[in-house]
């Protein structure tokens, strides 16, 4: 994996993100991806994510929002993370989300990257993983934790 673009870097992490609703949070994270050149058409990708979200809300147990889409506007498989200052309702039955992971996968993702995303989804179930991210002091640490826990070395 070392030769390919990493799934997440510090500039894809927003700490203390102040936003009011799902759409707003998602948009801010998409802008990060667009700024990094990982998404070609921010509006197009936002529409894809919204379409997926409309199918079934992606609020997960433990205060996690997991918006995601496979989209032709995505260049490389990427993950943007937002730590919210204030919880935002993400449709989960157990309360608002404080950690939001935006997964951007290309329409034709190769298996290796999809494996990593699968591993991320699995890690999110574990409270220790979520706590370590919530307690991470800065963007670089968040990116580091995700990479360490999810990406096979």
């Amino acid at each position: 994996m070392s030769t390919t673009t990493p799934l997440i870097t510090a500039d894809l992490v927003a700490v203390d993100l102040a936003a009011t609703d799902r759409t707003d949070v998602t948009r801010r994270l998409i802008d990060l991806l667009a700024a990094a050149g990982r998404v070609t058409d921010a509006d197009g990708f936002a529409a894809d994510v919204a379409a997926r979200e409309a199918q079934m809300a992606t609020g997960m147990p433990g205060g996690v929002g997991l918006p995601h889409a496979r989209s032709e506007h995505v260049v490389v498989p990427s993950l943007a993370v937002g730590k919210l200052a204030q919880g935002v309702d993400w449709g989960a039955p157990d309360g608002p989300a404080r950690l939001v992971f935006l997964i951007a996968a290309p329409a034709s993702g190769d298996a290796d990257h999809l494996q990593i995303l699968a591993a991320l989804a699995r890690r999110l179930v574990h409270e220790s993983f979520r706590t370590s991210l919530l307690e991470a002091p800065d963007a670089a640490t968040v990116a580091q934790i995700v990479t360490r826990e999810v990406v096979p070395s």
Partner: protein, 508 residues
């Protein structure tokens, strides 16, 4: 408790895996062993069949259709959807445990037995695979045999009333169906019997295409259907019968599978299943059948007919033996057709005496043609355990089909297990042919089975010949099948026993 689960979601990226992890963790916490197959975008690794076999119950946490669901047939299950597994995995585990403790749901237990054996075990040995491919084709063909055969038999019965006598079964086949349909009279029993006959014949037109098509489907999945059906139709066109259909089924499946594995440029990939695979595979199968196989078959049929005509001086019993063997060999295929046509052509000779050889030949041919389906019907009755469920069902219809001289009733058996069934059928049919000749039975009608018994000279001898041949065939097929191990039948038995055991273990 041991549980297996399948998870999937629309995108195949997030929920699928969260559900899997959540179920595994919740299972561990509650002291159960849970294995999850994630049918997601990252590709799915099928659960080890041993794990499935050992599992007490199944959890479907799937928002998409579960792939190869048949693997889990007969086990208690809960179907909860992926979201519930993500948000309340402990609850789902508890529900699954409760379902296992409640035992096998009756509906779920009965369903897999009745379903056609359409799935082919990827890890099976070559012999087992071939058997499973054959059984897939046969299990789809059986309803056509039953529907078509019974319609034809009903038509014969009705024709007796409509024409007022045994001649009805003959008259009904002489009527042009198109004329009747164009001026259908609802008050005419004759018209009704013609329509029933035509409907039955149309159903029979599908026998070989369906057999061939679904063998190819079992081998190559959907890409196999088009060349398979087409190959079956081509086999029918050149008169190759069900044996030709077996050939085209395997050929079409092989070719379609091969083409669908080609590594083609991305732009072409989209049109592969719709245009490229059907086009190329159909062309190959069609050309092979029509050009390479059609001509030799036609030549062989001509040769056989000439040879039979040259035999006119031989002893009657030997001729009956030979014709009987031919009737029993391919059940409507080319060799059967040569023998039958030989007999029917003889009927047209003018100025025959009532006990002419031609009439005796016709009686021998019809008697022999009734043996195979009757023998299969009897064999499935006396030795159920040697046959698959689908065959047992077909055996019930085969009684009527055999009695009506519809040899096609035995095709599902012969297609599923060609050499054992054909050997038995040939021996029994030959015995019947020889005996009918020896007893001097005569027949002036080209078909009709028991429905034309009043038209048969020495009917007692005719029936005796049929009964003896049927008993011989039955004994032989039971013997041959007892000596062999049939993987499909064995698998069905094992599933049954497992189910019975589960039902017994269930609290009252």
């Amino acid at each position: 408790m041991k549980l297996v689960a399948v998870s999937s979601c629309p995108t195949g990226i997030a929920h699928t895996y969260m559900a899997a992890e959540a179920l595994e963790q919740a299972g561990k916490a509650a002291g159960h062993e849970v294995h999850v197959e994630t049918q997601g975008a990252a590709g799915s690794t099928p659960l080890d069949p041993a794990l499935i076999a050992a599992a007490d119950g199944v959890i479907y946490a799937a928002d998409l259709e579960v792939k190869d669901k048949q693997r889990f047939a007969g086990k208690p299950f809960v179907d909860v959807g992926v979201k519930k597994a993500v948000h309340d995995a402990p609850g789902v585990i508890a529900a699954a445990v409760a379902a296992v403790e409640a035992g096998v749901p009756a509906g779920a237990a009965a369903a897999p037995a009745a379903a056609p054996a359409t799935k082919v075990d990827r890890d099976a040995g070559a012999g087992t695979k071939v058997r499973q491919w054959l059984m897939t084709g046969v299990s789809y063909m059986i309803p056509f045999v039953a529907a078509g055969g019974i319609l034809i038999a009903l038509s014969f019965m009705l024709a007796q009333v409509a024409w007022g006598g045994a001649e009805g079964a003959i008259e009904v086949t002489k009527v042009d169906a198109a004329t009747v349909v164009a001026a259908f009279d609802p008050a005419s029993l004759q018209d009704w019997s013609v329509v029933l006959l035509k409907t039955g014949q149309l159903a029979f037109g599908f026998l070989v295409p369906v057999l061939s098509g679904f063998i190819a489907y079992a081998i190559a999945d959907r890409p196999g259907l088009v060349p398979g059906f087409l190959g079956g139709a081509a086999a029918g066109f050149v008169g190759a019968g069900f044996l030709g259909g077996l050939v085209t089924g395997f050929l079409a499946g092989g070719v379609a599978l091969w083409i669908s594995r080609w590594n083609v440029p991305k732009g072409v990939r989209g049109v592969m299943p719709v245009v490229v695979i059907p086009l190329l595979s159909s062309a190959v199968v069609g050309v092979v059948m029509l050009v390479l196989i059609g001509r030799p078959i036609a030549a062989a049929m001509d040769g056989l007919t000439g040879w039979l005509n040259g035999l006119s001086g031989t002893s009657a019993v030997l001729l009956g033996l030979l014709l009987g063997a031919m009737m029993g060999f391919d059940l409507g295929g080319p060799i059967n057709k040569v023998a039958y046509t030989f007999a029917v052509t003889g009927l047209a000779t003018e100025g025959l005496a009532a006990d002419a050889t031609q009439y005796r030949v016709m009686a021998a041919v019809m008697a022999a043609g009734m043996v195979a389906p009757l023998a299969m019907a009897l064999a499935t009755t006396v030795r159920k355990r040697l046959f698959t469920h689908a065959e047992q069902e077909n055996g019930k219809a085969a009684w009527l089909l055999g009695a009506s001289f519809i040899s096609e009733g035995a095709i599902p058996f012969a297609a599923a297990d060609p050499w054992r069934v054909i050997v038995s059928s040939v021996v029994g049919s030959a015995a019947t042919g020889a005996l009918a000749m020896a007893f001097g039975s005569t027949l002036v009608a080209p078909h009709g089975g028991v429905w034309v018994l009043p038209l048969i000279g020495n009917p007692l001898g005719f029936v005796a010949a049929v009964v003896v041949g049927t008993l011989v065939s039955t004994a032989l097929v039971v013997l041959l099948k007892s000596l062999a191990h049939d993987p499909v039948v064995a698998a069905e038995r094992a599933a049954e026993e497992q189910r019975d055991a589960a039902l017994v273990g269930q609290p009252a």
